[in-house]
């Protein structure tokens, strides 16, 4: 199991060394709430990365919009090339929840377009969390919305590691059990092909 390790050509500068040790010490002494007040351009993300490296805890980073979340995800990925940095935002490119407006008597049906790539990244985030400890998930407020029960989720996963051996037919059976469909022509998620 890899430890969190920051890879960067910079070393902490300005107020960063003090901030890193203050925050890490706080975490080690079980402080439940701390605030990092960083002025524009002071390197908040780098500081947080060094704190994560210091305390070695799986971390959830929450951002209030998708653009900022994507920026943070890119930055953390660069800083932690050997750890699991994951991205968890709503998989809808467009989402219109069903709703009813009594005043005008209008019912609007649920409508959405789903982004498969984001869905894949979400699944990767949850499966990383169930498999390893060196995980950072950068998320939008999507992280407070309903997701399956982790215990049930675990049952719906087929774990495969390098050098495992499994027969083709039992692998197919496992996958079909969790609703994979076989299609040898077109590759998509939830489609099984050989």
């Amino acid at each position: 199991m890899a430890d969190f390790k920051v890879e960067s050509k910079f070393s902490p500068a300005g107020d960063q060394p003090t901030a890193i040790s203050e925050l890490s010490d706080g975490l080690k002494e079980n402080a439940s709430h701390q605030t990092l007040l960083g002025v524009t351009g002071s390197g908040k993300t780098y500081t947080i990365a060094k704190v994560i490296e210091e305390v070695q805890k799986p971390t959830l980073v929450i951002s209030h919009n998708k653009t900022l979340a994507a920026q943070l995800y890119g930055e953390f990925k660069n800083l932690f090339p050997n750890n699991a940095v994951e991205y968890f935002i709503s998989y809808y490119d467009y989402y219109q929840p069903e709703s009813y407006m009594p005043v005008t008597d209008t019912f609007i049906e649920k409508d959405f377009s789903m982004n498969e790539e984001i869905d894949r990244l979400r699944l990767k985030a949850t499966s990383s969390l169930l498999q390893r400890k060196d995980v950072i998930v950068v998320s939008s407020v999507s992280c407070i919305y309903g997701l399956g029960n982790p215990k049930e989720w675990k049952k719906q996963v087929v774990h495969l590691k390098l050098d495992d051996s499994i027969s083709r037919s039992s692998l197919t059976e496992y996958l079909v059990d969790i609703y994979y469909q076989r299609n040898d022509q077109v590759l998509e998620s939830v489609i099984l092909g050989f």
Partner: protein, 371 residues
């Protein structure tokens, strides 16, 4: 349906039965996938925390109508985001990160506040100047002219749309190169305007709320705040600090507040700036640091704004008159993107009727493009 084909549309409303949850019990979320000992970092906590708190209320309001008028069963209430207190209970250890943390974070932290005041670049916070509103426009013009002659840029923020319009018109009539950024300007054009400002196509950007992300412009050496003493959302403590911060990437950065009295928010900004500058200058002196603006080449600026690049030569000011059908194919594609943007924004603001109309319009256009 579930037995036959494995799924059923709309069933997510009744997730409670599938999860085996009791009435009113919270849903499982991503947080449940974390082990017990984990860390949460809330970025831009002064915006993110209120957003987390608002999610449950918005969902509940929408469900009220669906359930009251018989479209859904009452158990649909339990397919929902976490309430604020449920979110708090699920936390183990939290770090709030912000340039302007609100009372809530500071209270929760009980004095455990770590500051990053000294930047690795050594840049100090911009100097503040307070000037009377009488004669402010002439004063502003002469300040802008000084910056323009040195190839530096200015941001001017006003309180109302009317004033922003009048001001940019006037500044332009006296020969200044000025543009006006308002809320109806969509993302693509917004990025283009910001890029043109950075490249020096014009010198002054006038707007109302210039705090939105993407406004970290190292070329900006002056931020002028008109009506700084009109206490309110746009002139609150955190608004003033964030606005003044827009000049913090330039070594000559200055902020002018036009005001006839000093409000509490202004006092806070003045004291805070003073405190920071003292610490920063002392630090630079002790460590022999000379602050330097990060100078970006034209290529680097282009790189950072390439979203706008692909639309650079296209006419963006296309009329939204879909019926006349006079657009070129390329224009239509841009219009679709603009409508999509607007639709997402409407959906985010819970204006579902508006979003649905925009969706229909967008689908119609998309069909036309395919023909």
């Amino acid at each position: 349906m579930i037995q036959e084909i494995g799924y059923c549309s709309g069933i997510e409303n009744y997730s409670r039965y599938f999860d085996g949850r009791k009435e009113g019990e919270r849903p499982f979320t991503l947080i449940d996938f974390f082990p017990e000992d984990f860390l949460t970092v809330i970025d831009e906590s002064h915006v993110t925390l209120p957003q987390i708190q608002a999610m449950y209320g918005g969902d509940r309001k929408r469900k009220d109508n669906l359930i009251d008028y018989g479209f859904r069963l009452p158990s649909a209430y339990d397919n929902r985001p976490l309430k604020s207190d449920e979110f708090s209970t699920l936390q183990n250890q939290v770090i709030y990160a912000s340039a302007t943390p609100s009372h809530r974070e500071l209270e929760l932290s009980q004095g455990a506040i770590t500051e990053l005041i000294n930047r690795p670049t050594g840049l100090v916070d911009p100097e503040l100047m307070i000037r009377p509103s009488a004669g402010q426009i002439d004063d502003l013009i002469s300040e802008i002219k000084i910056r323009s002659s040195k190839d530096e840029r200015c941001l001017v923020t006003t309180l109302t749309k009317k004033m922003a319009e009048d001001l940019s018109e006037y500044l332009s009539s006296v020969g200044l190169r000025v543009r006006y950024l308002h809320s109806e300007v969509k993302t693509i054009e917004r990025v283009k305007i910001l890029r043109d400002l950075r490249l020096g196509d014009f010198d002054v950007l006038v707007g109302i709320n210039l705090l939105r992300e993407g406004l970290d412009l190292p070329e900006v050496s002056l931020v002028a705040i008109l009506d700084a003493d009109k206490e309110g959302f746009l002139r609150s403590k955190s608004s003033l600090v964030q606005t003044a911060g827009r000049a913090a990437r330039h070594e000559q950065g200055k902020v002018i507040l036009y005001a006839d009295k000093i409000t509490d928010s202004m006092k806070y900004l003045i004291d805070e700036t003073d405190r920071r500058r003292k610490i920063q200058m002392k630090f630079n002196k002790e460590n022999n640091i000379t602050p330097k603006t990060v100078k970006k080449s034209v290529e680097e600026i282009m790189q950072s704004t390439r979203v706008a690049e692909s639309y650079r030569d296209s006419e963006i000011e296309v009329k939204r008159d879909v019926a006349t059908d006079k657009f070129l194919l390329e224009d239509k594609k841009i219009v679709v993107e603009m409508i999509r943007e607007e639709m997402l924004e409407a959906a985010e603001n819970l204006e579902f009727e508006k979003a649905a109309k925009l969706r229909d319009e967008m689908n119609k256009l998309e069909k036309e493009i395919k023909l």
